[in-house]
Amino acid sequence: MSSSPPPSSAAASPSCPKKMIALRSSDGETFEIEEAAALQSKTLENMIDEDCAGTPIPLPNVTGKILAKVVEFCSKHAEPGVDDESLRAWDAEFVNVEQATVFDYILAANFLEIPTLLNLTCNVVADMIRGKTPDEIRKFFNIKSIFSPEEEEEVRRENHWAFE
């Protein structure tokens, strides 16, 4: 996806001359990503080691819309010569999106095992939820609680000061 030449450190073995990796989203879209960027994902790193044929790697858990952004994130973080401050500012912009989208990023980062993206997005969500009530948390994550009202009351009482 990037027009700059691949970094020289991403040396290709003789049997795998391609430095671009193809990915296919759950809804059938195909994306190309530089190998160095793809290696940010432990999941992709394992898959790349196994397969040199160049067929697109299917990612059934990630939609095209999200995969496009994940590729953008990994490519940015693989770019050489970016200083920490600019990267942090770029990251802040990257997660300045709807809550639902941040959540999709988390799921993708978890599935693809991208520590930098997981760390960034989890920090954002943790900040969003830290002051919420348990009810708001359930709505936020669509969690069904099977506590009976008595059980829930007892759990609340155990740490009542935390609700003040």
Binding site: Q99, F103, S145, A162
Partner: protein, 205 residues
């Protein structure tokens, strides 16, 4: 907040990734979100994960200052960044008597060990305090102090009993321990020769 029409399922490992970034107060509140969150938050392995994550950030390091003047069950908490007195600076030690002086024994992984200071310089009551979870425990007394006190006199040796305390975490037994060393000083405040110090270790398990 589900992104699709189906109910978004929050995978357990993702929940842990988010929960470990939350402060203790939020976590204790979220114990009643659902059973799975309660058992995660109560799990000692999660506590270890939470500790190792928060220890990475300097903003989570604090300095605790125990007051010896005025009301003596109070202490002040300073953040790592500055020693300026914060506006809500005083925290009550829930186990402490406002008339008694309390001194630190030590702190480890966010647990604080405090002892009551009295004229008798050994055998004072000790407490373990988890400040941010607002839980505390009295350390049970052993019989060592009274046995030690009797030793000095029947032998005809008049000695001044003293104790030294240390608090820390023992990774091998995965437990917190307090080590107490009791010894006798002679009238010149030197350790009485030939008398071995008495050593005792308190464990919570």
């Amino acid at each position: 907040m589900s992104s699709s029409d189906d109910e978004a399922k929050l995978p357990q490992d993702v929940a842990v990734e988010i929960l470990k970034r939350l402060p203790a107060r939020s976590l204790l509140r979220f114990r009643c979100v659902c059973r799975s969150w309660r058992s995660t938050i109560d799990d000692p392995r999660f506590a270890a994960l939470h500790l190792s994550h928060s220890a990475l950030h300097a903003s989570n390091w604090h300095l605790l200052w125990l007051h010896w003047g005025g009301l003596r069950n109070l202490c002040s908490l300073f953040s790592n960044e500055s020693l300026d007195m914060p506006s809500q600076s005083e925290i009550g030690m829930p186990f402490a008597n406002p008339r008694n002086i309390h001194g630190p024994v030590g702190s480890c992984n966010g647990l604080i060990c405090v002892k009551e200071i009295s004229a008798r310089r050994y055998g004072q009551t000790m407490y373990l305090w988890n400040l941010f979870a607002r839980k505390h425990k009295v350390v049970p007394r052993s019989g060592l102090d009274s046995r030690f006190f009797l030793v000095g006199f029947p032998c005809g040796v008049l000695g001044i009993p003293r104790e030294v305390l240390g608090f820390g975490f023992d990774a091998r037994s995965n437990d917190y321990k307090i080590v107490k060393i009791l010894y006798l000083l002679d009238n010149n405040h030197r350790c009485i020769g030939g008398m071995k110090p008495w050593v005792e270790t308190y464990s919570s398990v």
